[in-house]
Amino acid sequence: PHFIIYLPKSQKNVCFNIDSEPGKILSLVSDPELGISVNGQLVGAKKPENGKLSTYFGKLGFYLQHEDMKVEISTETITLSHGSRSSQLSWADTARIANQRVLVSVKKEKTVTLTLGKEMSFSILLHRVWKKHPVNVDFLGIYIPPTNKFSPNAHGLLGQFMQEPKIHIFNERPGKDAEKPEASMEVKGQKLTVTRGLQKDYRTDTVFGTDVPCWFVHNSGKGFIDGHYKDYFVPQLYSFLKRP
């Protein structure tokens, strides 16, 4: 999966990507204080390309502990479980399921919007591919607005950036590849080499996406994210991240 982090104060986009094994579950947001966890389970492409197997988010899990509610979103179904009871919809429906403060709204074959009261919302996009494509598989994208009020202790691959880190980008210069400028970025006491590039925002154009220029951090975001990306593996779709 590709990550794009928008830093409102410095008005910069920083991006990185992580490729790991299908089945692994990554913690995106973990906020034990608010009782909210968001995890993504990886799905692999049908076969490697150039010797490398791409992975995507095939399933997302939202756990709203205080509401005793779990929402599992896969590329096929959307399941809302409250205690022992569950209701399921499919991406073929246009529907809304509401329970107390939680509202799950499905736009047929496009998006699911999950809102918690008025203070929190998440947007999940479905990327459908040609079923017989030899390599590509359906996958999901998730978008989290800066207006979401997580606690200061929130963490996870995305959650940690709810507290915006200071960054300083300087010494912009031609890169090894003349067409890919490089620069230096100081962040969290580290000095990284970053590369200018493009990522995609699919919310307005679900097929081709909109180009988003960003400074790309190499090595699965090392130095920009706390610790190593493997620190963000969690055992279950609804687990909270265990921090050292």
Partner: protein
Amino acid sequence: SLSEDSGEKMEDVDQVTLYSYKVQSTITSRMATTIIQSKLVNNSPQPQNVVFDVQIPKGAFISNFTMTVDGTTFTSAIKEKTVGRALYSQARAKGKTAGLVRSRALDMENFKTEVNILPGAKVQFELHYQEVKWRKLGSYEHRLHLQPGRLAKHFEVNVWIVEPQGIRFLHVPDTFEGHFDGVPVISKGHQKAHVSFKPTVAQQRKCSNCSETAVDGELVMMYDVNREEKAGELEVFNGYFVHFFAPENLDPIPKNILFVIDVSGSMWGIKMKQTVEAMKTILDDLRAEDQFSVVDFNHNVRTWRNDLVSATKTQITDAKRYIEKIQPSGGTNINEALLRAIFILNEANNLRLLDPNSVSLIILVSDGDPTVGELKLSKIQKNVKQNIQDNISLFSLGIGFDVDYDFLKRLSSENHGIAQRIYGNQDTSSQLKKFYNQVSTPLLRNVQFNYPHTSVTDVTQNSFYNYFGGSEIVVAGKFEPSKLEQLQSVITATAASTDLVLETLAQMDDLEDFLSKDKHADPDFTRKLWAYLTINQLLVERSLAPTAAAKRKITKTILQMSLEHHIVTPLTAMVIENDAGDERMLADSPPQDHSCCSGALYYGSRVAPGSIPSWANASPTPAMALPVVGAKPLESTPPPHVIRVEND
């Protein structure tokens, strides 16, 4: 003998030869149209009486009948009952009769025609009828009662099933005890299926040298459509729409259920034995989150428990033990029994002992009319209506034919339930269990269908108290194609722990090419289904009409629709006459059985199709306008030399 051209030798023991017997059914999106055609010839030197006697499902509407006797064709016209009778009395056909008679079978009616034909004469009968398939216990059943009465040189049954949603499975069970093994041929595609049944004369014989036919029973087809993809299917065509709704992936809603069982003397013997047997299985099927109790009544009213009890294993065992000990005797006091059941549920509700997400059901099982206490049926009905709270659905099961079934139907229809007739014999138990299984899994409450567009009119009942797993809710209506490009529906409902809003958009031409591609698909199915549903619902509304004026108004509408849609209903009759109009027969339906949508599980109500509940209107901030961390589209245009960074 006719054997020379078929190569098969037919005895001439029978003076009348059945040259061909053909049945053809087309089911398009639950709407089934069946044609039964029979051709006979009188081989004997004497005039012969020929009978065309077919059984059609109760609640099916006959739409056409023609008869050709020695070249003289009789055609049918649908008339208002009294008009039909008057015409018939003016020109009674000589030596010919026709009529619809009520059969003793559970859910069938007989259409019978008898005609006297001269030696050598030929006669051809052709009957058309239509019915809607109701989904029960997860499948639709199409039953064809085959009773040609004699060997037929050409015998064939063809059934085409066309379902735009896709056919999930199709099964033709063996209902002839293995006699026709391998004869039904099934071919099934994704959206279409065909079943053919064409036994040869040899195969029709009861035994290798018998002259009786073994074709005497029902050919049954069971199927269901694909539902994994979508919870509802909205089909629009020709200015009508039909909406099918049968979601499955929902958790059962807890139920508070009271079984009110008649243990009067008339239940003695097999009825009680079968009822006890059924109850033992039914109690075992209760779920842990259900609450229940049992009220048994004769001239007295008793309860197993005076209030609702959780369906734990121990409680269920105890209730079963109680039921096993029941000895039927004495009179029947339905009024007190129902009021006691209602009191128990009301009390529990008032004391907040019920799960707010639960549904409350009363299942009344009785085999006779009241003989003790309040005897007046209308008074009992009034008492129940006055005492029952709005959250309770009442289902009535009438065993046998001594119970006033109309009363049970009215009683249930006005209390969010339905009534069903049960045959009092050795399979009473399975009928009771089958009925219970249809209501054992409530999945949704307060289901309402809304069609916000003003050009949508004539919507059938669109508000339902419950939705039970394994069944299907059907709503239909009209719209003006010129004013709509797409038809939108909003279904609102409450599941076990969530409120559900389901929006569906159907394009005007969604079905066009699908239906045009298949010559068996009935392009008129939406109109027929709408008419069928509307007339049946009006029939029940008529029986519940509070004033004579209201009843008259409904009667007028039903009659108008029956004539317009050319169908025999309890208010119309079929006049069959020859071209000259000097010979007529009359077929009118059984007067007393105004059954609504026989087989339908729901009797709902009508709410303005555009009135979406307020809670369903609250929609979240539009998904696309969300500002997000990490992917905010920037206004600045990147320098042209920037290219995509794929990944490390």
